[in-house]
């Protein structure tokens, strides 16, 4: 049986108010408290190091590339690794595959340990510092801790993707 217009309106209003109760409005969503996870801290750190290593190597390579090509090139490589790490952490936090991020973190850790050791053993090869010199001592050792923190996060984060 067809509904009259007032009956239909009343039913639409009831359905609408039920929808309103079920789904918060945009204003409610904006003011609702949020919860951040460890991935936001990892993303923040990766972003910082993309800028730090990227700006450092860009300035060094642009102004005096011949002075210390090895450390400047390594800083550029570190910037690329941090950029890839940032993108992969974001992908995993959205449910993407974890393996590429694990590989990236292992490459990053190997880079910090290799460059850190080389900078201490053969200082003459590093007339200017890189992000990874001295195991990242110039950056409060965050470059050494960051890939380990990512690997721990990958082991502990719930599997949802």
């Amino acid at each position: 049986m067809a509904l009259s217009v007032p009956e239909r309106s009343a039913r639409d209003r009831a359905a609408g108010s039920a929808r309103d109760r079920a789904a918060p409005s945009r204003a409610e969503r904006r003011s609702a408290p949020r919860s951040l996870g460890p991935e936001r801290v990892l993303l923040g750190l990766y972003l910082l190091f993309v800028v730090a290593a990227g700006a450092r190597s860009a300035v060094q390579l642009a102004l005096h590339a011949g002075r210390a090509p090895l450390p400047y090139g390594l800083s550029a490589f570190a910037a690329v690794v941090y950029l890839v790490g940032f993108l992969l952490v974001r992908r995993v936090s959205r449910g993407g595959d974890r393996r590429p991020l694990a590989v990236c973190s292992l490459v990053e850790l190997a880079g910090v340990v290799t460059v850190g050791t080389a900078s201490l053993v053969d200082g003459s090869a590093f007339p200017d510092a890189t992000v990874w010199s001295g195991f990242g001592a110039g950056y409060l050792f965050v470059p050494l801790v960051l890939p380990v923190a990512v690997l721990v996060w990958l082991r502990r984060a719930p599997l949802d993707g």
Partner: protein
């Protein structure tokens, strides 16, 4: 750059980072409680940036000019980004993210004193 202003900004950023971590450790971190300190810090960083631009316009040439300008821009951007990311989020990870940003600002201000010379 004015050394006293740089020192005040470093102390404010580091002190706020410690306060954020201390309140988070005690389970009492409220992001809104730190809004005044973040606003004060950003205002101070803006004054420092303005003074640097005036200094550059008057002919001062920093030892590492390009690096200094990069640090200057970064110092202005980090606090608003962190504040935006942690808005309405009172959890421990929100506190950690804010503390990382504040420590980064403190380090940037210290580094800028070196690159300015």
């Amino acid at each position: 750059m004015i050394d006293a202003l740089s020192l005040a900004l470093t102390v404010l950023a580091a002190g706020t980072a410690l306060a954020v971590l201390a309140t988070a450790a005690g389970g009492r971190f409220r992001r809104s409680a730190f809004a005044p300190a973040l606003s004060l810090l950003e205002a101070g960083l803006a004054v420092q940036a303005a003074l640097d631009v005036i200094g550059l316009a008057r002919g001062h040439r920093p030892g590492e000019q390009a690096t200094h300008v990069a640090y200057l821009v970064a110092s202005l951007v980090v606090v608003p980004l962190a504040a935006l990311e942690t808005r309405r989020a009172d959890g421990g990870w929100s506190a950690a993210l804010l503390a990382v940003a504040l420590v980064a600002v403190a380090v940037l201000v210290i580094r800028m004193q070196t690159t300015w010379r």
